[in-house]
Symmetry: C2
Amino acid sequence: MSPQVTFHPKGRSIDVPAGTSLLEAAILAGVEVNSACAGKGVCGRCRVVVEGDVETKASPKISQEEWASGYRLACLSKVQGDCVVFVPEESQLKPMQIVGGKVSTELKELSPLVRAVYAKLRPPTLHDNDADLERLLKELGYEPGSLEVPLSLLKRLPQVIRDGEWTVTAFLDGDLLVDVRPWNCVSRNFGVAIDIGTTTVALQLVDLGTGEMISQVSDYNRQLMYGEDVLARIMYGEDHGQDRLQHMIIDTINHLLARVCSYDEKCAGKGKKVCAEEVMAVSVAGNTTMMHMLLGLDPRFIRYSPYTPVTNLSPSTNAAEIGLNVNPRASVHLVPGRASYVGGDVIADVVASGMARSEGISLLIDVGTNGEVVLGNQDWLLACSASAGPAFEGGEVCHGMRAGDGAIEKVSLQGGVQYSTIGRTRPKGICGSGLIDLLAQMFLTGVLDKKGHLQPSDRVREGEFGKEYVLVYSKDAEKDGYDLKATGMTCCPMDKVERRRDITVTEEDIANVIRTKASIFAAAEVLLDTAGISFADLERVYIAGGFGHHIDLDNAVAIGLLPDLPRERFTFLGNASLDGAKLCLLSKEKREEALAAHRAMTYVELSTDQRFFDRFSSASFLPHTDLNRFPSIGRIRE
Amino acid sequence: MSPQVTFHPKGRSIDVPAGTSLLEAAILAGVEVNSACAGKGVCGRCRVVVEGDVETKASPKISQEEWASGYRLACLSKVQGDCVVFVPEESQLKPMQIVGGKVSTELKELSPLVRAVYAKLRPPTLHDNDADLERLLKELGYEPGSLEVPLSLLKRLPQVIRDGEWTVTAFLDGDLLVDVRPWNCVSRNFGVAIDIGTTTVALQLVDLGTGEMISQVSDYNRQLMYGEDVLARIMYGEDHGQDRLQHMIIDTINHLLARVCSYDEKCAGKGKKVCAEEVMAVSVAGNTTMMHMLLGLDPRFIRYSPYTPVTNLSPSTNAAEIGLNVNPRASVHLVPGRASYVGGDVIADVVASGMARSEGISLLIDVGTNGEVVLGNQDWLLACSASAGPAFEGGEVCHGMRAGDGAIEKVSLQGGVQYSTIGRTRPKGICGSGLIDLLAQMFLTGVLDKKGHLQPSDRVREGEFGKEYVLVYSKDAEKDGYDLKATGMTCCPMDKVERRRDITVTEEDIANVIRTKASIFAAAEVLLDTAGISFADLERVYIAGGFGHHIDLDNAVAIGLLPDLPRERFTFLGNASLDGAKLCLLSKEKREEALAAHRAMTYVELSTDQRFFDRFSSASFLPHTDLNRFPSIGRIRE
């Protein structure tokens, strides 16, 4: 008999052959376990607590105390006999909190990707026996041969027209007929905007007739199992086939669609529930690798110099061809990108910010798993990728986490340690905005020197991974009365061990955060230098990304992530990529703006730019080698 | 054990469940047997000679003598035990003789449906790392977003570009990228033109770079098993599903393609053999029902008043979508039609004739399984369907046959019976041109009166189906020394019975031919009447269709099929539909001309037109009630 593995808190059991890794068993059981290194035992994200017959290897990612409590890495543990596995919340891939877009651009008029047109046809007679399609074309005002009609639609046309008793709604994407449906009192027409991040996928269902947002959902990108960054995933694809990666991203989106749509065609046209068949348009923004994987394009050459994608443009495709569960002929539009490491997500940011319509020069910083910077105005755009690393999204930091329930998002050390968590639940880790606050506050209160070294303090101790600062003692967190039941977690005996962990930040964590902020700052400086201007010339600075619900500008300036400009010049956009995708879904002008941005944008390659390395070195301090560039911080420190 | 059925002359055996009809068994065994009524026992086309355990019904289509010799209808015979079946040549569906196009229109310049463009790309560098597609677009002179690129092609693009070491051939259909191939010394680019007749399918392989015809093949439409005319096939589809009909037409074309192409990709670009992958464009002409079946469109409404097709226009499709075995992304262009019974084959005739480019008014008659008439010039076109019936293609006539080996194609009764057969083989039946000659000659020599009644003569006798004229006595045919081996037929003992049949024409046959010619003549008169002109106003009369290799104009006028005009005004086009398809394959101007003809053409519905019935009655004589309309015939008869 095959060994049985049971996963908690989901309570799912599965029989697997002996020798299967717990990570593989979890995938087979449909239990999503975090993993950022494709099962190589490197990232330490797949920590689980195990009881039973498992052969496992030790890992520096598991402390001695944790090991004694049953903590193991799922990828390094092979099933030998029956066992029970608890997946702690930190290792789960779960629906995450949405950080909504902050920009509401006023659209002059709606010109959605797919428009619905009511058409009342004359029923044919012996003396007016034009073909069904020609009858429709005439009513829609198209000359014969000037409208593209997919064969699959043509096959259904005679029945649809007769079902509608010669009154139909036609759905048009430019000169392409997307669908024809019998007319049901109102012409319902829906679309979805999707932002595919390396880490998170967010989706909005939108009424294309009114522009109104109906619902918004998001989830982790299920590809996370195969690696945390794009390079890890491309490598995984080279070894195991790209199909699996395409499947996982489509699967992620289809799960999100299932949460906002019904698959019961009977509900179409009735009531408030939107039927998947009524979704006629899909607008997607994402980085170049994600777009390749969504379309099933080979991303191999993105990895190797000179880093050429297959394309940065949107191909002609529809939902059925890539496997999205909406109307099979729904138009799929991808926001165009510019280069392998400046993708459609960045151009969507540009569209959402409006910077390419302004006379004044703006800087846009997108701090995602990577980190991209754009500089320019209505006449020109420069862009680069900072290869910043995922520190502000919770990566490469021991107690780092994404902006979800339990993430510490605000920290103040003025007059004692104070913090607040997202969802007001028991603290589980620190998200981007919390890290910015923490580093800034440690630096301003003297706990941290400008090189990022911890100074002696009652909260600084020698931990397993070197010097560390304790932000939250587990006993204090308990005292705060955060209740497991209140957080919605299933209570499991094994969970107790989780509560024993203090939330700390090590010197290595701090070094990683400094590296990330330094590379973003240096990237911005190289673009300014290329344009021959300085920070002071900037009319606006836009900040996009998933740090958290907000960002404390003073603290972000204090660590040298943002330039020391008057604070009113900054705008925090939140998930601007999703906003940009939605604008492109709703407006032809915005789709043209995106294409114009693709054309106008000059990509600056930093990987061979000596200026970047020089400026990165100078910026690898708190806030910077040259304190004159941060006068407001210098004043506080004095 | 299941009974075994063996079919000769193919020598194929198959085990089938008891109760299977011989027609079904033949289909299962891959033996093609003629059938025109979808197995209802009505048409009498599936005559076979049987020995063995078969339960069968009598049929008026089998004479007593034939019954005694073992003749049965395959559709009415159910297998009970082992049996041997001989399929006589008349009942076989075999590759048939080609009646090639007679028009060679001079094209001002080649502008094929798909053009090949050589493109030498700059290899990317770190400072010029545009995406693969964008690099190609730039070289081809396309702005980003202005060229449609199928996703399936985009998936192959990076490898193809690198296989070609940055030198490729791009294949373009307007603003659609059809394929990209590594550049192999020459840009080979091929297309096929196809004429899909209800009875016959003809195909030409063409070099799109030079316009040169490489090879030409034709075959019976394999749908013949499911009925002889379009209505029988639509009905068959309603009962058994349209899929089967689509499958059979695609199957017919793919068999023809296999005769002109190689499926070994290794041969691509080398030598003279054309690889299927190198065929980038397909241009098809056919009647409206055939076009529906080719595309898998529902032809149901073609059958019922007011006779509306799904469309008369070419949809956006490619070879893979409909299942043609050429390059999967090859563009498929259908010559547009005008109505349910005036299809793309007729508009292809118009294009081949050039009548829509002429100032003078022309009449075009296409005598196929149906029969269509077009009248007009560069400013206007009128068209109608004559519902003429298949008499001139060998249908509805006892010894009628298509224009293939052994068909009597010329007859003269002046100074004794003289005839010649296609391929100079033993006479097997009479094709269209032979029937025209025979009736005219019988009429002119007084064997036939103007009502179509046979007059006493040494060759007129009372046959099983009433009065009949014997054109060929079997004993004479034997005496002529026609040798079975010379005709390529497999010799089989059962075949002897075949030779015993005289070739005759009955009064019922004659009535069918008169009905056919009368309806074509009446249709032409209605169009002239609608335009307010007379035959004398015609600058030219074009005759298209599969009568045979030629048509004797005097005889065609003598029976009243053609108007009595100076003979130099007539042009015999042969298979003009195939010519038209080829012109559309090679020339944008011709494709536009076809679309312009679709727009300019007014369809005249005859089924409810009293003028048509009046004129049909008057024309149902030899040559016509009003002899003044045929002065040259009146002179001969006097």
